[in-house]
């Protein structure tokens, strides 16, 4: 018998999880898998009774880590169009998101997990550096350092826009 509490939680959080995963991974099977895994972990977590902001931060951290792990394992070749990103993100700045996602895919094998997590949050989800620092539990200075290191890698690859 389906658990009505699961359905309630699903309706409340899954649209957010699904959109977040689509931003990171495109509208792919991988994005669907990461979204499902994030939701299942949420159901198993001990934060269900916490306030919405805490649950959202948990969702962002967990889905980002799952996506980064997937990227690092597979080094995905994401092929998506700007229109698809725009539809997935439901937001302006689709070209930036698309570019950031392609960079992440290219750097997945060489960048550290933390660099990729911060890059996802700041470059794909559009978090400010203070927001990303608070969400990851690191300092703003560390966020800047990680993003700087990532940009150096992109420069080395000749990928970053002048």
């Amino acid at each position: 018998v389906p658990d009505p509490r699961v359905d309630s939680l699903f309706c409340e959080t899954f649209p957010i999880i699904r959109a977040k995963c689509a931003r990171m991974l495109g509208r792919t099977e991988d994005a669907a898998d990461v979204a499902q895994e994030t939701f299942v972990r949420l159901c198993e977590s001990d934060i269900l009774d916490r306030e919405p902001a805490v649950r959202l931060a948990w969702i962002y951290r967990t889905s980002t880590r799952l996506a980064v792990d997937l990227l690092r394992r597979r080094r995905l070749g994401i092929e998506t169009s700007a229109e698809e990103v725009d539809a997935a993100a439901d937001h302006s700045g689709a070209d930036e998101v698309l570019g950031a996602r392609q960079h992440l895919a290219e750097l997945a094998a060489s960048a550290s997990r933390q660099e990729l997590e911060v890059a996802v949050l700041c470059r794909v989800d559009g978090l400010t550096q203070p927001e990303a620092a608070a969400l990851c539990g690191i300092s703003e200075r560390t966020v800047r350092r990680l993003l700087g290191r990532l940009d150096e890698r992109l420069d080395t690859l000749g990928r970053r826009a002048p």
Binding site: D7, I16, R18, C43, E51, Y60, H91, S92, G93, L121
Partner: protein, 226 residues
């Protein structure tokens, strides 16, 4: 530079979390962002895999590492339970703290099984789900500490420390639920004139040590798993 709030901010708004006033003003004025927030609140199609997802049966309390029991809120019905008085080892003390002509300290074990309160006879195995509370008669000792004694080399873990009523019995404000793991549980109870340190639980009572404490250990056998 994107003039719109971040996706994170939009999701905060969708979940009903607070957003900064400038972002709230933006959301009320920007139809596109408002539409995004609305879309994040729209019920998604229900996938088949959701049938296999379960939430924990109850909001789990963090398990304490020391013992595979769960602390419970006080159980009002425990007051009618029978009790077993457990002997202790009084450790003599020099000085004024040794003046305690108030009888012998004792620990009472209150056992609640299902809806019935039964007397633990000191020997019968406990069942999974049984609930226990302790009543302590300090007989002049002002403080109590209760700890679980795990198998070596693990260290005792304090379950409760607090003051005792100067007269009569103090029903400790914690209880325990017996789980199905292990064959026994052992508790250490230490009474003292001052707050009891964790180290007091690390040694067995013995006549060679002169301290201002009274201590006892309670071994609770568990019913074998079927």
């Amino acid at each position: 530079v994107n003039a719109h709030p971040s996706q994170y901010t939009l999701d905060r708004a969708a979940l009903g979390a607070s957003v900064a006033p400038p972002d709230a003003a933006h959301l009320s004025a920007c139809a596109r962002c408002a539409a995004v927030v609305a879309s994040r609140r729209a019920a998604p199609p229900r996938p088949a895999w959701l049938d296999d997802v379960r939430l924990p049966p109850a909001a789990p309390r963090p398990r304490l590492p020391w013992l595979r029991w769960v602390a419970l809120l006080p159980v009002a019905t425990a007051a009618v339970a029978a009790l077993v008085l457990l002997p202790g080892d009084r450790r003599p003390v020099d000085g004024p703290e040794g003046i305690r002509a108030k009888g012998t300290p004792s620990v009472a074990v209150y056992l609640k099984r299902a809806d019935a309160v039964v007397a633990w006879d000191g020997r019968a195995p406990l069942r999974t789900g049984d609930r226990i509370r302790l009543g302590v008669r300090g007989a002049g000792y002002g403080y109590v500490s209760v700890a679980s004694i795990p198998p070596a080399p693990a260290q005792p873990g304090v379950l409760y420390s607090g003051a005792l009523s100067p007269e009569g019995e103090t029903l400790l404000p914690i209880g325990f639920r017996v789980d199905d793991r292990g064959e026994t549980e052992q508790l250490s109870v230490v009474l003292a004139a001052k707050p009891v340190g964790e180290e007091e639980h690390r040694t067995l009572p013995g006549p060679d040590r002169i301290r201002a404490t009274w201590t006892t250990r309670i071994t609770l056998p568990k019913e074998a798993r079927r």
